[in-house]
């Protein structure tokens, strides 16, 4: 009996140690990041493609989309997330971060202090990007206005309030390979990069499993609105009948083929994406139609 107990204890310790190792925050290889330098103008396009402002602007109505003071609340099944201040303020924002720290935050979901970020932050998508693009983004974001609003803590339920548990979530769900695979045209590939790595369309338009990971088998099929009433519409499947022209025009102007005008949480997405070259919007449209095949 004593032997058995000892055996259980040993297995428990080994299991706990394995979980601890498995849940450790992992950063990018230093050689991946060495020699990257950012270009502000390139970074501006990455900023608009990545939609940072959609979540990180102030909660006030009609807030300035370039002041990333944070404070917006995002309700979920796990509790309420509050977007942090990511303006270049040295105390309350990211003003003292290095480019390497920034890229690890955005692509690996690891803070400069070595803690996990929750996957409400779509590093789950950004992890597929070319790190060079986020070196550009870093250069641009450091030129934005600083704001001294303190970041607010999330309000999460147990066990989700244990940050280390995010490491296990990452081990299960964080993938940097493409979701839509097979034969893609050059335009569809560009659209895939923009959508799956930067613009993170799927984060709202794809349903999630019980642990909050995207269901790749129901890609773009629409999902409950996580932060309010109604649904985020499907952009694939039988009920979605838009053409490439329709999708590109919508991202450029906010007008649906029926001439309804964009609203809700999609309005800031359009306001951001409409700054991209029209060819980039056409590429996203081509990819979305390809993804729905």
């Amino acid at each position: 009996m004593r032997k058995l107990l000892l055996g259980v204890a040993v297995i428990g310790v080994i299991g706990g140690a394995a979980l601890w190792v498995l849940s450790a925050p992992k950063v990018l290889d230093a050689t991946t990041l060495a020699g990257l330098s950012g270009d502000i103008a390139e970074g501006e396009a990455i900023f608009h493609a990545s939609g940072c402002g959609s979540c990180h602007i102030a909660p006030d109505r009609d807030a300035d989309p370039l002041i990333l003071s944070g404070g917006r609340e995002f309700a979920s099944d796990f509790g309420t997330f509050v977007a942090p201040n990511i303006s270049p303020d040295p105390e309350h924002g990211i003003g003292t971060w290095t480019a390497e720290q920034f890229i690890n935050a955005v692509m690996q979901g690891v803070s400069p202090d070595g803690e996990h970020y929750y996957p409400a932050f779509p590093y789950t998508s950004y992890t597929r990007a070319d790190p060079q693009d986020f070196a550009h983004l870093y250069a641009f974001m450091m030129t934005l206005p600083a704001d001294a609003t303190p970041s607010q803590p999330h309000d999460l339920r147990f066990p989700f309030n244990i940050r280390r548990s995010v490491g296990l979530w990452k081990a299960m769900f964080l993938r940097d390979d493409w979701v839509v695979t097979g034969e893609l045209s050059a335009e569809e590939e560009r659209g895939r990069y923009l959508s799956e790595a930067l613009s993170h369309c799927a984060e709202c338009h794809t349903p999630r499993n019980a642990l909050g990971a995207l269901d790749h088998d129901r890609w773009f099929l629409g999902a409950p609105n996580p932060s309010g009433t109604g649904r985020i519409p499907a952009i694939a499947g039988e009920e979605f009948t838009w053409t490439a022209f329709d999708i590109s025009a919508y991202l450029e102007t906010g007008l649906t083929p029926d001439f309804d005008v964009v609203g809700g949480s999609m309005a800031p997405v359009v306001r951001s994406l409409q700054n991209l070259e029209k060819s980039e919007l056409d590429a996203i449209a081509a990819y979305i139609l390809r993804a729905g095949q």
Partner: protein
């Protein structure tokens, strides 16, 4: 027991019927009808602006005139308290409208201004109409962003 069961089912049917009754506040359907007429005209101009159809100065001017008059329709009886999406089904009007009616009114008057500018150029040529059309869409978007819920 029988009476209790009966009372229970009366209470239940009332609970089911009450939201349905509230749905029937005619203001909801009436204001939705108003927005359909906005789209009826806005969509024609949008079709021309996006090159889905050829520009026709007379048709564009008529649509812009219609929009001008439609957006002057007095709104005071179309937005009664209790007709928001939290109180009743069948509307996407956010409760935030009634939290700050002044801002809602201000955004509506921004629409009126944009439509007035559009009306003054809609018949002057495709590029002129386009230049006037864009700000109307922006005015719609500003209000939809703050005050319209996702569709269900």
């Amino acid at each position: 027991m029988k009476l209790k069961t009966m009372l229970g089912s009366v209470a239940l049917s009332l609970a089911v019927a009450l939201p349905a009754l509230a749905d029937e506040n005619p203001a909801i359907e009436q204001r939705q009808g108003q927005f359909k007429l906005f789209v009826h005209n806005f969509g024609l101009l949008g079709g021309m602006a996006q090159g889905r159809m050829d520009y026709d100065g007379d048709m564009a001017q008529t649509a812009a005139d219609n929009l001008f008059h439609l957006t002057r329709h007095d709104q005071s009886r179309l937005w009664p308290e209790g007709t928001d999406s939290m109180s009743v089904d069948g509307t996407r009007a956010s409760p935030a409208i009634w939290d700050d009616l002044d801002d809602f009114v201000m955004k509506f008057s921004a629409l009126q201004d944009a439509v007035e500018s559009l009306q003054s150029v809609a018949g002057d040529g495709l590029d002129e109409m386009r230049a006037g059309f864009g700000p109307v869409g922006q005015a719609c978007q500003a209000c939809h962003e703050a005050y319209r819920d996702e569709a269900s």
